[in-house]
């Protein structure tokens, strides 16, 4: 006991100083908005650059597979070029010209860190606000696989953190390609290849192998990005909705490149939403 008091007098100042300063700083970054933001962005920049270095080291190991997938994607894009298509329509009425306007643009980014094993997975990419990225933008897979990857949560100047679709809070509006019945895509946190589709009424016929695609109801993803296929579906007794397991089309574990979806009409849509809220 006496020794304890002696120690307290001798080293108590230093020990209490360290403990209390740590405690104070945790209070500061938890409860004060400015400090919280600075802390988060600094932490992101540091971990981002760390992951970036690590990724530079390991980048070359996967080069073969990446080249393959890029070639695949090139082939797919070539197929979409004008000269690869046969124009099959017969012009009947010249006043009914179809006019199109660019709505989505895509920004390429490389993944610097990724996880699929946690309950709440996050992905970091090497593009940030400098490159025109902002929170709430959707992220889709690149490299021939397609599929969706997640939604941007936070950006620093050079890096961004994505909330993976393999995250408990993630909820993406999707639909069945054949009849456009929509529902929500969520993840229960077990298998990174399988997600769950919710809120599809039980009178809708769902068959194994049906394609699931994005619904385009939010401005995060364009309509019609293929997400996966129906694996199994059943109706729990007493439930009004299907329980659907979805096989993801992309391999969430093995990704190198993603595209960020930039919706050029986002501001227009937001204006409408805000006008609605004001009413």
């Amino acid at each position: 006991m006496r020794n304890l008091i002696f120690l307290l007098y001798k080293f108590g100042g230093v020990i209490f100083f360290i403990i209390l300063e740590v405690f104070c700083f945790s209070l500061v970054v938890k409860n004060n908005e400015t400090q919280k933001e600075i802390y988060n962005s600094t932490q992101q920049r540091l971990t981002g650059s760390f992951y970036n270095q690590w990724d530079n080291l390991t980048h070359w190991w996967n080069m073969g597979a990446v080249a393959d997938s890029l070639a695949d994607e090139n082939a797919r894009l070539r197929a979409e070029l004008k000269n690869a298509q046969f124009i099959n329509t017969i012009l009947k009425d010249s006043t009914n010209n179809e006019e199109t306007r660019q709505r989505y643009t895509y920004i390429k980014a490389r993944i610097v860190s990724n996880s699929v094993k946690l309950n709440n997975n996050n992905i970091r990419i090497n593009r940030g606000s400098e490159h025109g990225l902002a929170p709430h933008m959707g992220v889709i897979g690149a490299g021939g696989q397609g599929g969706i990857v997640g939604i941007i949560r936070a950006t620093s100047s050079s890096h961004s953190r994505i909330m993976s679709i393999l995250h408990r809070d993630s909820r993406v509006s999707v639909e069945l390609a054949k009849n456009e019945e929509f529902g929500s895509l969520v993840w229960r946190g077990s298998d990174y290849r399988i997600m769950q589709m919710e809120d599809v009424p039980k009178d809708v016929i769902v068959a194994k192998g049906d394609t699931i695609q994005t619904s385009g109801f939010s401005s995060m993803f364009p309509q019609g990005v293929v997400v996966g296929t129906v694996d199994t579906s059943w109706v729990e007794s007493g439930s009004n909705v299907h329980s659907i397991n979805v096989n993801l089309i992309n391999d969430m574990r093995n990704m190198r490149y993603v595209y960020i979806v930039n919706d050029l009409l986002k501001v227009d849509i937001q204006e409408i939403e805000e006008a609605l809220e004001d009413e």
């Binding site: 108590g12 300063e21 104070c24 600094t42």
Partner: protein, 174 residues
Amino acid sequence: MNNILITNAVRFVVFVFLQVLVFKRISIGSGEWSSYVNLIVYPIFIILLPLRTPHFLMVLLGFLIGITIDSFYDSPGVHASACVFIGFIRPVILAAMAPQGGYNMSYSPTKARFGNTWFIIYASIMLFLHLFFYFSVEAFTFWLIDDIFLKTLFTFFISMIFIIIYQFSLNPLE
């Protein structure tokens, strides 16, 4: 002994009240400048703690007054971290400023005990360190270092005036 305890307890309460009821509300300058000139006088409580206060107790009391002030300023941890810091650093400063023959450990570091010059230098160092730490934590980044320095300087001069008025008018022994 009891006397000193009561004096310090009263000082704690009085300066917390003065800080949150009076000094916090006084705003000097207008517009943007008012954020540069604050009145932060309550660290006098830590500055005037008796010389024989154990080190760990000084750190703890610093935390206590800091977190009390924080609860009125709605800035959890910002004042407290600065107070803990000066509570921790005080023995170093006192050691550097020890008069010839050392301290009489039953005294408190007041103007009445150690004279005008000694007290003003000692209180200035303590208050300046407190304010610099406080504004650094408030800004939370050294990108704004000139801002931090300006705030510290302005606040330091105006607060120091109040500390000097307090010591010279009441001239407390402890």
